[in-house]
């Protein structure tokens, strides 16, 4: 079980309030991702749940029990840190065994769980090594192993992949998703990378300056961003946000169109501009179009076989069904 409820939780450091009153419900077995730009309070929020920081006011309950003043050791949660935070003086085996040793589990049970975690995480050959003798990816797996063996109510991940190189990050992302499917335990995952959020989450919590901007499934956020911040943050490349006369035509202050919802032509279209930088990814090509009079640059996605050079004339047509409208406060209309 791992249902976590935050009610009117606030956190201040001195006079600075980093988390204004916030309510959040994390259901049992859910994979929840906190995402937002750096300094948005997502790590602080995770540390409040972990108990590593005390809330200034409000309550945190785990499975219906008030855990607000319960020390981290007693909350039954496991955490994976960005720096892995392995015990450098202990072998991999002892690192993984540490939480069980603290819980006073008998040796046979400890060994059974170590073996099974090591097998699941491909660590069997490294059990007697020290963390210093492992690569970054292996260290991260040890940290995850140390979390698994506790059989916690929920896993907390604090930007666990940001110290890994790109290829490894994709691999570990899959492994963590796989792990979630297998264990069906609640996972709370903090990242600033919206791709990680989109690919892993059941539910995304978008944060800005400690405020929850929107909570929803990845596709809900993608299809119906509640405001311009979420619209710009979720999706890659970013949604084009257009103000002025073009927006007024749609009875809005701002309209948003995703790069993938604009069709490209060399001959005709609604908007006209010139090609700036083009990024060829093989499967897709992204053109940054200038001189449309709508915004500094409009990003559009075209097929990988579309070739246009810097300075070429280009015509763009947005899909009218996929235009997002926002009012003068940046909030979604309709």
């Amino acid at each position: 079980m791992g249902r976590i409820t935050l009610e009117k939780v606030t956190k201040s450091f001195g006079d600075v309030q980093v988390i204004p009153p916030l309510d959040l419900e994390i259901n049992d077995g859910e994979f929840v991702v906190f995402v937002g730009p750096s300094g948005c309070g997502k790590s602080t929020l995770l540390r409040l749940i972990a108990g590593l920081e005390d809330v200034t006011s409000g309550t945190i309950s785990i499975d219906g029990n008030d855990a607000t003043s319960v020390p981290p050791a007693k909350r039954g949660l496991a955490m994976v840190f960005q720096s892995y935070a392995l015990y450098p003086h202990m072998s991999v085996r002892k690192n993984i065994a540490f939480p069980m040793r603290m819980a006073g589990l008998d040796q046979a049970e400890q060994n059974r769980r170590i073996e099974s975690a090591a097998k699941a995480l491909n660590l069997t050959d490294y059990l007697d090594r020290r963390p210093g003798q492992l690569s970054g990816g292996q260290r991260q797996r040890v940290a995850i192993g140390r979390a698994i063996v506790r059989e916690p109510a929920a896993f907390l991940f604090d930007e666990p992949l940001s110290n890994l190189d790109a290829a490894l990050r994709v691999g570990m992302r899959l492994e963590i998703s796989e792990l979630h499917n297998r264990l069906a335990t609640t996972m709370v995952y903090v990242t600033h990378d919206q791709v990680e959020a989109m690919t892993m989450a059941d539910k995304i919590v978008v944060l800005r300056a400690g405020n929850i901007e929107q909570v929803g499934s990845p596709l809900e956020l993608y299809r119906e961003p509640r405001n311009t911040f979420v619209a710009g943050f979720i999706g890659s490349p970013k949604m084009n946000l257009i103000e002025g006369a073009e927006a007024a035509k749609h009875d809005a202050t701002t309209i948003g169109v995703r790069p993938e919802h604009i069709s490209v032509s060399a001959a005709e279209g609604l908007w006209e501009g010139t090609v700036g930088v083009s990024e060829h990814l093989g499967s897709d090509t992204f053109f940054h179009v200038h001189g449309t009079g709508l915004a500094d640059a409009i990003t559009v996605r075209a097929g990988g076989e579309v070739h246009m050079r810097h300075g070429d004339k280009i015509f763009l047509t947005p899909d009218p069904e996929k235009i997002h409208r926002f009012d003068q406060n940046g909030l979604r209309i309709g």
Binding site: A85, P99, L156
Partner: protein
């Protein structure tokens, strides 16, 4: 561009280094040499460097006149005891200052250090009177406590610097893993801090071993350590330099040997934090 070092330059540097080293070591060398001279040769003018009649006579007399082993044993107990006690007090203190600092932590650290700036003689009277009342004069336990207190600021400072180098996330991980405060200090912090604690112990042991002011003022016979043993050879009936030197050599020999074998730890301890 890396600085190029010519062989001549290198030789000069080596020479200067040796000269400086010898200059610092000279008083100890001279003490050791004097301990092998006769009393007459010890005060000869001009001084004799190596060309004297080497004799072990002084050592024999010193051994005969005083019980070296008793002084040695007292030194070991006082230096060892005060070091162990100091570490027991300082580890939790340094832990809390390094990992849960408050607004006043820096002030407390500075205040602790400031007590080292007070000349020891300033508190001789109150401490002496307290010792009389508590019946601690000339007792090893009394000296253990006083030397512990005297060196505590240094122990706390050294441990504090070491602990600061330990990533806080590792301790947080231990907390998440269900470790109590005791388990956290015992199984995670201490093993990681062992090199730091070892250098602190070593340095503090040496400081306590060489401490002369309190050991001379608060002991007479029973608890007298090696510092008192040396002092007993500078007597009012005249200075016997050769015997004094022999006593000194015997007193510093154990700590010199200990220091020699733990050079690496000591240097690391003293320069810690300066370079990463």
């Amino acid at each position: 561009m890396a600085r190029s070092v010519t062989p001549r330059r290198k030789a000069l540097n080596t020479l200067i280094a040796w000269a400086a080293g010898l200059l610092i070591f000279f008083p100890i060398l001279w003490t050791i040499l004097t301990s092998f001279k006769t009393e007459a040769q010890a005060i000869a003018a001009p001084p004799i460097f190596l060309n004297f009649d080497w004799t072990l006579e002084n050592y024999a007399i010193v051994q005969e006149r005083s019980d070296y082993m008793r002084f040695l044993w007292n030194s070991v107990i006082i230096a060892g005891g005060s070091t162990i006690l100091g570490i027991i007090v300082a580890v939790p203190a340094a832990w809390s200052m390094a990992f849960v600092p408050s607004k006043r932590t820096k002030d407390i650290l500075l205040w602790m250090l400031s007590t080292k700036m007070l000349p020891a003689v300033g508190v001789l009277y109150p401490i002496y009177l307290m010792f009389i009342q508590l019946g601690l004069l000339d007792s090893r336990i009394g000296l253990v406590v006083v030397l512990m207190l005297i060196n505590l600021p240094i122990i706390v400072w050294m441990l504090y610097t070491y602990f600061r180098e330990i990533p806080g996330e590792i301790l947080e991980a231990a907390r998440m893993d269900g470790a109590s405060l005791k388990a956290e200090i015992l199984y995670v912090l201490t093993p990681m801090a062992v090199p730091g604690i070892a250098s602190t112990i070593l340095l503090n042991f040496i400081l306590a071993w060489n401490e002369a002011f309190w050991t001379l003022n608060l002991t007479a016979v029973n608890a007298a350590p090696l510092t008192a043993f040396i002092a007993s050879y500078s007597s009012p009936e005249g200075l016997f330099f050769a015997k004094l030197s022999a006593a000194s050599t015997m007193a510093i020999a154990p700590i010199l040997i200990l220091g020699w074998f733990s050079q690496k730890q000591l240097v690391r301890g003293l320069t810690f934090g300066a370079v990463k």
